[in-house]
Symmetry: C2
Subunit: 504 residues, 2 copies
């Protein structure tokens, strides 16, 4: 009996490792497409991605996998496994049950479509040509709707999508959380707009050498503890991080000549994602648990590093001199002015360049549009108009073109509906983790002020990173902070920070 279980476990682990290898290969193919693959190779590459995805999908949903999971998933057997194997079996079972509902052909069609669509989105964005992208988006929405039907609806249709990125999260919960957040942030934003202490920002908009920007980005990544022997920094239209294995976690950024901090904060953001995956514990390597536990927790790390650390006063007390050195004569202002400048709050068009506060409004807009698509049947053709209306309503500004409007984000071209809420969840998790971190590392801000960031990385690795998918988001939040997710921490963090900056 024990021998049978051992054999089943061995075979299951082997299959799981093979699936993980397919994921690694696919991640390389996607990374390559996004960092300069030649245009004319896209069609053939999409075929290859389709073939590999199908095979990974086939392995995940094979009868053999089903049998193994049924055997290993029996109450008694599961109880006899060690923690890692137990979790690996239950996660695989969940994935199996979910994927089993999708016909392989439909999955392949979806994979090929979304991998092509991303290139077409890139082109459409460059040419500000929504019409050329619309048919692809229509088809992606159509297939996503088919997936929802096949997987079954529990609550609203959109809930089925949310579950992919934040297991268990519902539209009802999000409505409440986002409602609460909005009710606190809107008055704060109004008070800020009315303040007579507006930061100066003009000095941030000069012509900044790209080479020097890159040099400083690399320098800060090293300070954060990013391991360059296990990663690299490249450029892409839309910055991203991708973990092929903990030994190879890559990030990309995008340099703007007229903005000294856009690429930098993008790099710190992606660097936060990368630290997470570079520091997953060795025993999980080569298994499908070797990944972030949810998009929300992942975003908590990117946004923690970008905002909580990277936009803090102590951080710039330490590093502003280093930045000034790289742009001689261009940043001759007091550090306090710089600190206030990079924390200016004002409505803007581009999500990834938004301040910490209004950022959440960008997310709420996307959340509402996605709900409207899947719960109310809104069409792709209607999106530019709805987008612009919502920007007018929530932020008081209207995009002058679709490039700075509905075409700005890569997500929908890849079919990632349900992902956006993760960003605001990430802000909330980050604020809550920070409170615990400040308690457990009482000299936190002194360390940041000295440029000694490694204890922070160590604490996060110890508490969060090493676990990969070994725990669920809610388990991690509970274990680390001693209580469930509570949006009040984010509100408090923002109020404290911005009342100081705007002297409210």
């Amino acid at each position: 009996m024990a021998t049978n279980t051992e054999k089943a476990l061995e075979r299951f682990r082997e299959l799981n490792k093979t699936i993980k290898s397919y994921h690694e290969a696919l991640s390389v193919l996607y990374w390559d497409l996004r960092t300069g693959a030649p245009r004319k190779g896209v069609a053939s590459r999409s075929e290859a991605i389709g073939v590999l995805s199908s095979e990974a999908f086939r392995l995940t949903t094979s009868d053999e996998m089903g049998d193994l999971l049924a055997r290993l998933g029996e109450q008694e057997t599961l109880g006899s496994l060690d923690e890692i194997n137990r979790r690996l079996v239950s996660e695989s079972k969940k994935e199996y049950d979910k994927s089993k509902k999708i016909p392989p052909k439909l999955n392949e069609e979806y994979v090929i479509l979304t991998s092509k669509a991303e290139s077409y989105w890139e082109e459409a964005k460059e040419n500000d040509d929504y019409a050329s992208f619309q048919p692809y988006l229509e088809k992606i929405i159509d297939l996503t709707n088919q997936f929802i039907d096949l997987r079954g609806v529990n609550g609203t249709r959109y809930d089925t999508l949310l579950d992919d990125y934040e297991p268990g999260l519902t539209t009802a919960e999000l409505d409440e959380v986002f409602g609460g957040l909005r009710s606190k942030l809107v008055p704060l934003a109004s008070a800020i707009a009315a303040s007579s202490h507006q930061p100066e920002t003009a000095f941030l908009r000069q012509n900044y050498s790209q080479a020097a920007q890159k040099d400083f980005s690399l320098y800060i990544l090293k300070q954060m503890g990013y391991d360059f022997e296990a990663g690299r920094l490249d450029e892409s239209v839309h910055p991203f991080a991708t973990g092929l294995s903990p030994g190879d976690v890559r990030i990309t950024t995008r340099y703007l000549e007229d903005d000294v901090t856009s690429a930098l904060f993008g790099t710190i953001h992606e660097g936060g994602h990368a630290l997470y995956e570079q520091n997953i514990r060795q025993e999980l390597v080569g298994t499908t648990l070797c990944d972030g536990t949810s998009m929300g927790i992942h975003e908590s790390q990117s946004r923690f590093w970008e905002n909580v650390i990277g936009r803090s006063r102590p951080f710039w007390e330490r590093y502003f001199g280093e930045l000034q050195k790289r742009f001689p004569g261009q940043l001759d202002v007091p550090v306090e002015q710089f600190y206030r400048g990079i924390n200016v709050v004002q409505p803007s068009l581009i999500r990834i360049e938004a301040d910490e506060l209004t950022y959440n409004l960008h997310i709420i807009i996307r959340y509402e549009i996605e709900k409207a698509i899947f719960n109310n049947g809104v069409k792709a053709s209607e999106l530019p108009e709805i987008w612009n209306e919502k920007y007018k309503e929530y932020l008081g500004i209207v995009p002058p073109n679709n490039r700075e409007g509905v075409l700005q984000d890569v997500h929908w071209s890849g079919g990632a509906f349900g992902y956006f809420p993760s960003y605001s969840l990430g802000n909330m998790y980050a604020a809550q983790f920070t409170e615990t971190l400040e308690r457990e590392l009482p000299n936190l801000w002194e360390l940041v002020g000295k440029g000694d960031l490694l204890p922070i990385k160590t604490w996060l690795s110890d508490k969060i990173y090493q676990y990969g998918k070994l725990e669920t988001p809610s388990e991690i939040v509970q274990r680390v902070t001693g209580k469930p997710l509570d949006p009040a921490h984010l509100v408090q963090y923002l109020e404290t920070k911005y009342k100081d900056i705007y002297r409210l």
Copy 2:
């Protein structure tokens, strides 16, 4: 009956396309490893490469494939197929029969080993540390010997390896061809050494800006007709070209600060390989016929562009001004002096930097060492000494270290034993093709002198490139030149060129 054949053909084409997709994915993984993948990701990447290779191997040797090939390969059925399908079936049958003899586990072991070994070779070369690489090489030789035993020996053991790169080529034939070549080239090299008209070369060895080198390399690639929407130029330790699909054929080069032509001729060489694969006809795309027909024919194209065109007098009469412009004040010599300088013949240590004439001696050395390994059981531990002895004997010089000696080439780390002779075959094919090209495009050198290189690319595409693997090397040579391969053309080409330069 017809319907059954059609069904079998359809399924076979589908399988073949899937196999081709695996090849594309693998090529991306290898390209990535060679162009800057982080060191710590190598182990995991090798696993992924192993998984994908195994699956491609499994598909190639599956019972289903065997059945389909048996059915489609019947004399009558084969005769009823169109040219492409006929060739695709017979090539796949050959591959099937060959691969079927290798146990999948052994193949996987080999693939994982060689993909790791390449990274270890790179490190060993950088540190001039042969001892660290030797165990890998031993293991590769051992596995290669097992493959030879499994595949069976016809002639000498080394013949089994040669067949992988130049189908049908034997050690006996090569001994004769290389013997003949050596008997003509050695006296020519002696006469050259004794000439009182030695080219000046010191001016080629200054400090040349890498950015300007890159700029000129890109410019020349464009002139050759390399399509940058279907390719890209990167850097790697060992320059290479890789065709993922005709829409994505990538090349790499390596810049030396103190040598203005090393990267350039490397780029032209790889560019020649790339032109071949960018111009394979559309009907072959997505099949395993979409590839060069042999390494020898492939090398004929790289070496044609590098030497016959790129080291010709008319080429530099057109382009020397362009080069001078990019290095102001560094190349103030007459074009004739430059032409003679880049065609200097002298014994040297590094194959890829050798002149056209002594290059063949580098190949003969590797050929003899490979023969000794597989036909006479010479061990990996003995190679540095044998290498150095042969360099002393054939070229009169001894490498001061293994980095410039036995560690210089990537090939053995990837298990590519039997590849090297292709380079000299390439030289011979190139000379023979050139003779026909000069006849069919009588104003060839006038066009080169005007920088009008596209008619050359068109002629080569028409005669060679578009065919992919649709014809064998000997079929191509016979069709294009009207006769079988004859090494006399290379001898004549070299004699004519170098008697002029050295005024013999």
